[in-house]
Each structure stands twice: as structure tokens, then as C-alpha cells.
């Protein structure tokens, strides 16, 4: 287990700095926006009421004190009360979290199930029409804006062909298009990287040996290639899971999917800042934790990563 502890330490430090950075930016931005008190009270509130709320929120204290209090509260999940929902912002966001998880997980599984076989086939049948068409599509999938993929799917699949609903969250049919939209980028990336990882292994000496032994091509691919190509593929696939969270904001808005991404955008329109802050903070925490776990698993599986 040589080198595992320093590796763990550096990753933990990185996660902690990222968390601190997010909370600091959230705090600074919040203060830049000026006094939130008038937003919380009716326009005709008396001055005494304004001062009372300001003291209650701790806004009359020096900035460094406010900063420390804010960090403490953030760590405990206390972001104040939602102006729109009239309950703690943290509880509101937690209520919307399952829908985002459902969508993210489906998108991820879908992307991996489609992309992995495509990547392997493209590598084995290199430069064949199948390879060229799928890799061309993957390039488009990697650079096409997520929101427009969603709009195109709605237009063609829902409105013109009438196959699937355009929005909402009722049964599995509502899940297909959002999951495809959210997973498109991950799908394209996983397919391309799987292809290059498999190609890399196919060039190795032991593959030539396996072929020279007279093994069938199917056995060479199944037994010798996939096993060795698995480590980079697993990492890349895992990392894609984290980036899905960012894409959820756009996808959920396009398909009116009731998750935290859409909640964040709606809360901006409602000027419900406690909820916006809580969503940004909580998503960042989730993203950092997921990436940290993936790093950890990868470090355990492949000792070479620890030194880099």
C-alpha cells in the first residue's frame, strides 16, 4: 500500500480547498448583492422592523464575523429560510434531490450501456463504416450544446413522432428523453475514450502473442484486451458521472424535470436567494464527494495513479 496515505491526503486537501472556495465565493457574491433585508420584508415595512431583521440575520456584525458564522452555518446545512416556500432552504433542496438523482443515474447507466460496446466495436473494427459513423456522431455529441439536443429530441421524438411526452415526471416514459439529453455528452466521451483505450491495448505485445498462439479474435478481445483496457475506461466513465450534475441544470429546465437544477433556475427568477445558495453549495458538495470517491477507488485499483 505504498504511497496510499500521501495520495489520500492530497486528494482530501484538494476536496477541502474546493469546498472552502465554493463557500467563500457564495459568501462574497451574497455580500456583493447588497442588503437582502428589503427582499425579505414587505416594501412598506417600518425602519424598526428592518433593523430588527438585520440584527436577527447578524448583518449588523463585522464582515469577518459574518463570514465565520456563515461558514459554520453552511457546514450544518443552515442557509436560512426560503422566501418562496416558507421553510428552511436546506429542506426544500433535499426534497428536490431524489428527482435529480433518478435522472442523473439513468443518464449515466444509459450512456455507459450504449457507449462501451460502441467504443469496443469501433476499436476492433477500426476505420470500418461503423467506426466512422459512430465516431462522427460522438464528435457531434461532444460539442453540441446540451439544451439544443434536448430541444431537437422534443421536436422530433415528442412533437413530430408523438412517441414520448415532452415534460414532467410521471412514469419511465418521461425519463427517456431527459436521460438521453443529459447523457449525450458522457456517452460521446465514453465511446471515444473506450475506443482509444482498446486500441492502445490491441497494439501491445501480449496481444500479438495471444494471436500467435492461435486464439480466435473473439477470445483475444474478450479475455486479453477488455480486461487490460478496463482501468482507464472505468476512471473516465466514473469522472463523467460528476460532470452530469452540471448538465442537470440545463436538462431539467428543458424538460421541466422537478430536480434541484430546475429549482435553482426558478429560485433565481423568484429571487429566492437562500435556495439558490443552498443549491449551489449542495451540488458542489455532491460533486466534490463523488469525485473524491472515484479518485479513491481508482487509487486503490491502480497504484500508478498515486504518484502522478
Amino acid at each position: 500500500m505504498h504511497g496510499l496515505l500521501p495520495f489520500l491526503g492530497s486528494r482530501l486537501l484538494r476536496a477541502a480547498v474546493a469546498l472552502w472556495l465554493v463557500s467563500t465565493v457564495v459568501f462574497v457574491v451574497m455580500r456583493l448583492s447588497g442588503d437582502p433585508v428589503p427582499l425579505l420584508l414587505p416594501p412598506d415595512a417600518p425602519r424598526s422592523e428592518i433593523f430588527r431583521v438585520r440584527a436577527e440575520l447578524g448583518l449588523d456584525r463585522p464582515l469577518p464575523v459574518q463570514y465565520v458564522v456563515f461558514l459554520g452555518n453552511a457546514l450544518r446545512g443552515d442557509f436560512g429560510r426560503s422566501i418562496h416556500f416558507r421553510q428552511p432552504a436546506f429542506r426544500v433542496v433535499l426534497g428536490y434531490l431524489p428527482a435529480t438523482f433518478e435522472l442523473g443515474l439513468t443518464a449515466f447507466v444509459l450512456a455507459a450501456l450504449v457507449a462501451l460496446p460502441i467504443g469496443v466495436v469501433s476499436a476492433v473494427r477500426r476505420n470500418s463504416p461503423v467506426d466512422q459513423v459512430t465516431m462522427g456522431l460522438a464528435l457531434v455529441g461532444q460539442s453540441a450544446p446540451t439544451f439544443f439536443i434536448g430541444i431537437l429530441l422534443i421536436l422530433v421524438v415528442s412533437l413530430k413522432l408523438g412517441l414520448l411526452p415532452t415534460s414532467g415526471r410521471e412514469d419511465w416514459r418521461n425519463l427517456v428523453l431527459p436521460a438521453l439529453t443529459l447523457g449525450a455528452f458522457a456517452m460521446a466521451s465514453i465511446a471515444r475514450l473506450t475506443r482509444s483505450a482498446v486500441l492502445e491495448v490491441l497494439r501491445a505485445d501480449y496481444i500479438r502473442t495471444a494471436r500467435a498462439k492461435g486464439l480466435s479474435e473473439a477470445l483475444v478481445v474478450a479475455k486479453h484486451t477488455l480486461k487490460n483496457a478496463a482501468v482507464p475506461i472505468v476512471t473516465i466513465t466514473g469522472l463523467q458521472f460528476g460532470t452530469l450534475l452540471g448538465g442537470a441544470v440545463v436538462t431539467e429546465t428543458v424538460f421541466a424535470w422537478p430536480g434541484i437544477g430546475r429549482l435553482a433556475i426558478q429560485s433565481i427568477y423568484n429571487r429566492d436567494y437562500p435556495v439558490v445558495q443552498c443549491t449551489v453549495f449542495l451540488s458542489a458538495v455532491l460533486f466534490i464527494v463523488i469525485n473524491f470517491c472515484i479518485d479513491l477507488v481508482y487509487g486503490l485499483l491502480d497504484p500508478r495513479v498515486r504518484s502522478s
Partner: protein, 271 residues
């Protein structure tokens, strides 16, 4: 491929610059009688709505042409902001080393550790959407790659004897940067800037689509896709026309970046 990409970008820039001359109609003039008109080549006054009109009767083609201005202005400006910030921090990290280096690179790692779009949404939500905010936020989302490339180039050169010789002869740090470091990383910077341009244009469109970017009535591609969403069933052209142009721009610019990378700097491949 590269030629095609270059021609496409030049055409786009010319279109954006000459938008008032090229656009057949005023992009913000509404005409309630001509609402949701389908694309057509025939017109009574000789000025057809080639790509139809939107829900307020505005000409989609003209709005798309003017929208190119927003995309390119924000895109290029954001690349410049990100490049300057990234280059400065990268040089600083490389030359100063020690604590400065550790702090800057930890910051870079940390920024990559969460989806920047969330933070962008938070910042724009509070500061309000405006051109400067948009440019700074999108620009800052992309400084890390520049910083890493410049830092590693400084580290490579800092220990070389000729750099010591320049210092011994009284040459300044600025001279080392201008004469030895920048020429070495120029091709890498061009590649990164091209790839960043594609990313910045898509990010601007995404923010505008979410209502956090360029505000109506100023036409932007992302904003147009958003406006046309309600009318997808009856007037599909409002969303699809700007969306397709955006997608094409993103694909062409990023492919050009890939091509430049393979041509100028194969070492960047792993990134």
C-alpha cells in the same frame, strides 16, 4: 478541414461585423400581423422572411445574423479575459514557486473540482445579467489550462543555463518572458484559445437559454432557442435555425482546435 474551419470562422466574423448591412430586416422590429410566419422565399416587398418570423413577428434570419455579434463578442472577450488571468497566474506560479505556486495550483485544482456552471448561475443570479458580468464569469471559467501550460514552460526554462546567463548580464524577468517563454508556448496558447472559444460560445448560449445571459430584446442564439421553445409545435423554425448555427459553430471551432493541436502541438493531446 482546417481551411473549411477557417473560412467558416471568417465568414461568421464578417457576418457579425456587417450585421446591420447584411440583415434583411430590423432584428427588433415587431409586426403582429406577420407573427409566426413560416420560412418563405416570396414576399410582396421583395424582402422575404427566408427563415420565417417569431412570436412577435420579428425576422428570424435577421435576429440570427445579429445574434452572431453577441456570440462572438462574448466568446472572444471571454477568451481574452481567461487568457490574461491564466497567463499571469501561470507565470507567477512558475517564477515565484514556493507558497505562491502551491496556492495558485491548488486554486486551479479546486476550480476543476466542481461544475463551474453552478457557480456562474449563482454569481449571475445575484449580480444580474450584463455583458461585463457574462464576459468575466465565462472568462474566469477557463483560466486554468493557460496557467498550467505557462507554468510548466517556466519550470522547464527557469533552470536552463542561458536564463541564468541573461540574469547575470542584467536582463530582466520581462525579457525572459517576452523573448524565451512566450515564443515557446505561443502555439499551445493558440490551440487552447481556439478550444476555449468554442466552449465560451456554448456557455454564453447556455446561460442565455436559461435567461441568465444576454437579455431581450437583444438577439442571441441561446435566447432565440429559448423564445422559440413555446412554439416548437407550431413554429419549429424559431428555435431550430439559431440552434443549428450554434451547433455548427461549436463543432467547427472545436474541430479546428483539435486539428491545430495535432498540427502545432501533439503534446497537448492528453489534456
Amino acid at each position: 478541414m482546417a481551411l473549411g474551419g477557417g473560412v467558416f470562422v471568417v465568414l461568421l466574423v464578417v457576418t457579425a461585423l456587417a450585421a446591420p448591412v447584411i440583415a434583411p430586416h430590423d432584428p427588433v422590429r415587431q409586426s403582429l400581423r406577420a407573427r409566426l410566419a413560416a420560412p418563405t422565399l416570396s414576399a410582396a416587398d421583395g424582402k422575404a422572411h427566408v427563415l420565417g418570423t417569431d412570436h412577435l413577428g420579428r425576422d428570424v434570419l435577421s435576429r440570427m445574423i445579429h445574434g452572431a455579434r453577441v456570440s462572438l463578442l462574448v466568446g472572444f472577450a471571454a477568451v481574452v479575459v481567461g487568457g490574461i488571468v491564466g497567463a499571469t497566474l501561470g507565470l507567477l506560479a512558475g517564477f515565484r514557486g514556493g507558497w505562491t505556486d502551491t496556492m495558485i495550483m491548488t486554486l486551479a485544482d479546486a476550480q476543476l473540482a466542481f461544475p463551474f456552471i453552478l457557480l456562474a448561475i449563482g454569481i449571475i443570479a445575484v449580480l444580474g445579467p450584463s455583458f461585463p458580468t457574462l464576459i468575466v464569469v465565462i472568462g474566469l471559467s477557463g483560466w486554468v489550462t493557460y496557467a498550467r501550460v505557462l507554468r510548466s514552460q517556466v519550470l522547464v526554462l527557469r533552470s536552463r543555463e542561458f536564463v541564468d546567463a541573461i540574469h547575470a548580464l542584467g536582463g530582466s524577468v520581462a525579457r525572459v518572458i517576452a523573448r524565451h517563454i512566450l515564443p515557446n508556448v505561443l502555439s499551445s496558447l493558440v490551440v487552447i484559445a481556439t478550444l476555449e472559444l468554442a466552449r465560451a460560445i456554448v456557455l454564453e448560449a447556455t446561460l442565455s437559454f436559461l435567461g441568465l445571459g444576454v437579455q431581450p430584446p437583444t438577439p442571441s442564439w441561446g435566447g432565440m432557442v429559448h423564445e422559440g421553445r413555446e412554439y416548437l409545435d407550431s413554429a419549429w423554425w424559431i428555435s431550430t435555425a439559431p440552434g443549428i448555427v450554434l451547433m455548427l459553430t461549436s463543432i467547427v471551432v472545436s474541430r479546428t482546435g483539435d486539428w491545430l493541436r495535432d498540427l502545432l502541438d501533439p503534446t497537448l493531446r492528453g489534456e
